[in-house]
Amino acid sequence: MINVTQFVKPDSLPSALEELNREGSIALAGGTSLSLSKSKKYTKVVNLSNLTELKKIETKNNRLEIGAMVSMTQLAEVEDSPFPILRKTASSIYSTAIRNMTTVGGEIAKGVYWVDLPVTLLALDTQVLLQNSSSSRTVALSEIYNSHPSKFINSNELITKIFIPLQKSTSSFHKFTKTQVDYVLASAAGKAVKDGNIIKQINLSIGGVTPLPCLLPQVSSQLVGKKITDEIIEEVSTECCKEIKFKPDFRASTEYQKSLIKVMISRVLQDLQS
């Protein structure tokens, strides 16, 4: 950020998008990642903190709409949330000071292995609204993460909202860190739509062990039409590691991270079982 010479704070979304349309501009949401950036390509910082329209959480059109500037603290404090795992996930992130700053849009856009919220959002079939000054598009979060946010989202585009379909389902999130404020070493989330005890549809996702959080479509599909039993949990949690390309991590051995993923997936499935 060494070459930044301009700092603007627009009062409306259109003017923010206009500012971002200019070369060398970068959006500032919570700032927890941007403040550490060593990039020399930016000359202007566009502070989004005045955009109150992006700080809302609403239920509309049979889906939960969450503004991109909603902080983790805000998300963690929603009462009667249709998705309690959003509260659980948000409240598990780092420390209070960081949760006050980190935003939904920022968590998605930073595109690093240690994020937590996208793990849960992937499991919840989240759609993302991307806008620039002249157009908008809605895409699946999984599509963005199949690529990389920095490649998929154009430099003049902003994440403005996310949409989570409201569906009768059960969901769960578990993560493992070495201390309360540590970066995640392994995490998993899941959402299941069941008919009685039988799984009709299920998403399992993981984080911490791959370059970006990802869904586990293969093991998820194997669960469809089945009842979650202890044997299934053992089988799936073992099997899922074969689907994951673990990245090397100086913080822990791959063997240990595999064992953690197995534990996290087991705990998610145990929650989905009930």
Binding site: S95, K178, T179, D182, Y183, F250, R251, L260
Partner: protein
């Protein structure tokens, strides 16, 4: 008056300035025309320097000078005990972070940008990164003298056939990790050349007299030409004993070359990579005992990874060596400690000085003995631990207060409710356990360092009755100045508010040795009392005359009021007595001095009087272990310490809290991730230290107060004892929870899971 300590219940003298952000740390201080220094260092740990071209960097904006080994304006050969280090590498790199060039610029940023223009070529050479591998004759030799550069021994009794054929023999190999000091304020110095060719050095340090000696040697000038001002110091823990000399020499070299003041502040990442660390050790322990659990003998081999340079590793190893048997009177002892060069991080002093590592091992072994012979872990310590009957330390000397160890065990057992936690609940993957660790610590310097065991205080009575007090021991955040103020006030019988004390200035008081080894209260306090004793007879005499009392021995000062012991109706204030002292033109100042009694010790056998006196301490820790993930949740800790006399109650509580928290960090989460000697986790994002959220909700503490005659008002020392037994108590608790013997620290989640797997 605080009923629990000698203090008057007042806030620490430094509290307000620190809490309001007004305290001036070294980086807050500026001088006219001051330049900023930057250290250009090696990314590799073992390499040959092939090219160091500074031409482009020298031409960069704002650059005043760039120094290399070729143009250094002082002696390049440095070292605390062995001159085995170069200030700037001339040809061979031995450690990642070794200095290659020093840059002085108008701004820090300019210096950093210029460093990017240095053309560096290093040829990587084979290194050695394990202290046991370094023992192999085929291992790369870090220095010409060989990788083992010092050995220490303890030989007491005889490990003869009757011992070697004991019914119970427990032999284990332990791996104990190092630790980063993680002080809040990183290393930093400002060197200011003076018009009369003398030097002022401002430094965050616990040992300003070391800096004075080394700067004078570097420049080839006498020590009276160097004046060191300790700046408000934001934590040290041993990391600011010898190491601050290095930034001080860097700043001095640049200031000498430019003729301008130069500030050198270490960025956190470089500080973590290059500064000294707690030593990692590999320890083989063999214990011989009867079926009843009576220990007949022990044999230890301690391998200390010193890293690339000796520093003070020999001094740390000396204490580890003699502390390795613990608070047990064992008749037959054989210990061999090797201090070994590797290309790893550079070992140095750290709270406990090698004692925490060996304590973790002797306590794990005695736990295993308890399990083997079917006795309770506290009971086995009662049998073998020091007592009125069992009085001898590993050095063969008889201790003055050995019975306090038994009192310590009684208190730990009672306060922790030990017996109620021996069959803890177990819920699926969550296992609970309780563990104990105890220790003995020789307060003050070892025999090998007794020449430095001195202290000075300069006390001036001002004519309004206030007092200016200067001491040679440093307050590095631990509260030494509060203790000095309390001791001075108590010795004079006045309010602590009358006493002004600040950081050390080496021109104010004579060299008082290092502020280490939990000796600040003891050596500084004794010097303060000596200064008071030189002035008080004069004050008492004047007071007696003012009170119409013929015998000065009959007057006393309490709460700032003088009166006679027999007639308490007539009084005169302390201030009035001092005013009269001035009117009579009597010298109102005194230098107090302390030195310990000379001791005899045989370094060949480790027998003799190793330390001036000893303190016991212990922790009981309760944990819950998640056996699936290996994560440990600390439920409760109990700390008990034998402190002689509590000087400042808030201060001692702070030390016990701090020592316990730092100990839990070392035992559970702090871990160096090294790749060929380079620290992969240099920064607090990845080098994890405890936060309030990781701490137990309950931290119980209690103290044993039986005065120790050599200490001020009977006080011992608490800085290091508060840390030492924490690691041992954690190994004990986790081993109890898992019902298996653990032989590694730190007990990170991964290490625990791997240990469980190995045991399956």
């Amino acid at each position: 008056m605080n009923k629990k300590g000698l203090d008057q219940g007042k806030p620490r003298p430094d509290a307000k300035a620190k809490a309001t952000g007004k305290a001036l740390y070294v980086d807050d201080i500026k001088f006219p025309r001051m330049l900023h220094g930057y250290i250009f260092s090696s990314p590799l740990a073992s390499a040959k320097l092939e090219k160091l071209d500074i031409a482009k960097a020298k031409a960069a904006p704002g650059i005043h000078t760039i120094l290399t080994a070729d143009n250094l304006p002082g002696s390049n050969r440095i070292g605390m005990i062995f001159d085995d280090e170069e200030l700037l590498v001339s040809s061979r790199v031995r450690m990642s972070g070794d200095r290659l060039a020093l840059i002085a610029a108008e701004t820090q940023l300019q210096a950093k940008k210029a460093a990017e223009l240095i053309n560096l070529k290093l040829q990587e050479t084979p290194g050695v990164y394990d202290c046991r591998e370094a023992l192999s004759p085929s291992a790369p030799q870090i220095h010409p003298e060989g990788n083992v550069f010092k050995e220490f021994n303890v030989r007491r009794g005889n490990l003869d056939e009757t011992v070697l054929s004991s019914d119970i023999i427990i032999e284990e190999d332990y791996e104990i990790g190092g630790q980063e000091h993680a002080y809040l304020e990183t290393q930093g110095t400002i060197a200011v050349p003076q018009a009369d060719d003398s030097w002022h050095i401002y430094s965050t340090t616990q040992c300003p007299y070391y800096i004075r000696a080394r700067v004078s040697r570097f420049l080839g000038i006498t020590q009276n030409k160097v004046r060191v001002f300790q700046t408000v110091t934001g934590g040290a823990f041993g990391g600011k004993e010898d190491f601050p000399d290095e930034p001080a020499l860097c700043a001095t070299a640049l200031a000498k070359a430019t003729g301008r003041p130069v500030k050198v502040i270490y960025p956190r990442k470089y500080d973590m990579q290059s500064s000294t660390k707690r030593h990692s050790m590999k320890i083989k322990h063999k214990l011989f005992a009867t079926k009843q659990g009576q220990i007949k003998g022990v044999k230890l081999d301690i391998d200390v990874d010193a890293g690339a340079y000796a520093g003070l590793s020999t001094v740390v190893a000396e204490r580890a060596n003699i502390s390795s048997v613990g608070p047990y009177d064992i008749p037959n002892i054989q210990v061999k400690t090797k201090v070994i060069y590797t290309n790893n991080l550079y070992g140095g002093p750290y709270r406990g000085f090698g004692a925490p590592q060996v304590s973790a091992v002797h306590e794990a072994q005695i736990d295993k003995l308890a399990r083997t012979v079917g006795k309770d872990r506290i009971e086995i310590r009662r049998i073998n631990g020091m007592s009125a009957q069992k009085r001898k330390f590993a050095s063969g000397e008889e201790l003055a207060q050995p019975h306090l160890y038994q009192e310590l065990l009684n208190k730990l057992e009672k306060i922790s409710k030990w017996r109620t936690h021996l069959q803890p609940p177990s819920r699926g993957n969550l296992k609970e356990g309780i563990g104990i660790g105890t220790m003995i610590y020789g307060v003050n310097l070892h025999w090998g360092g007794q020449r430095l065991d001195r202290g000075a205080a300069y006390l001036v009575l001002l004519n309004d009755g206030s007092i200016s007090l200067a001491v040679g021991v440093t307050d590095m955040g631990q509260g030494a100045n509060a203790a000095m103020r309390t001791i001075c006030a108590a010795a004079l019988g006045i309010s602590e508010d009358l006493i002004q004390i600040s950081e050390v200035d080496t021109d104010k008081v004579p060299d008082s040795g290092p502020t280490v080894a939990s000796r600040a209260t003891m050596s500084g306090g004794r010097a303060v009392i000596d200064a008071v004793n030189r002035l008080k007879p004069k004050l008492d005499k004047i007071a007696a005359q003012m009170l119409d009392c013929e015998d000065p021995g009959q007057v006393e000062c309490k709460d700032g009021i003088y009166q006679t012991k027999s007639n308490q109706t007539k009084t005169v204030s302390f201030e009035k007595v001092v005013e009269e002292l001035y009117l009579r033109r009597i010298n109102p100042a005194a230098i107090g001095w302390y030195r310990s009694e000379p001791r005899q010790y045989d370094p060949e056998t480790g027998q003799g009087k190793a330390y001036a006196f000893y303190a016991f301490g212990g922790h009981v820790t309760r944990v819950q272990v998640d056996t699936d993930t290996g994560r440990v949740n600390v439920l409760e800790t109990t700390a008990v310490h034998d402190v002689g006399k509590i000087i400042n109650y808030q201060g001692i509580k702070g030390q016990v809290h701090g020592g316990t928290v730092q100990g839990l960090g070392w035992a559970l989460m702090e871990e160096f991730k090294l790749n060929k000697g380079k620290m992969m986790n240099a920064g607090f994002s990845d080098y994890l230290i405890p936060t309030s959220m990781d701490m137990p909700e309950k931290l119980n503490m209690d103290f044993i107060e039986e005065p120790q005659p050599q200490g001020p008002f009977g006080a011992k020392g608490i800085g290091e004892p508060s840390f030492i037994s924490v690691g041992a108590s954690v190994i004990s608790a986790v081993s109890h929870a898992l019902n298996q013997d653990l032989k590694i620290l730190p007990l990170t989640p991964q290490n625990i899971v791997e240990s469980i797997r190995k045991n399956d």
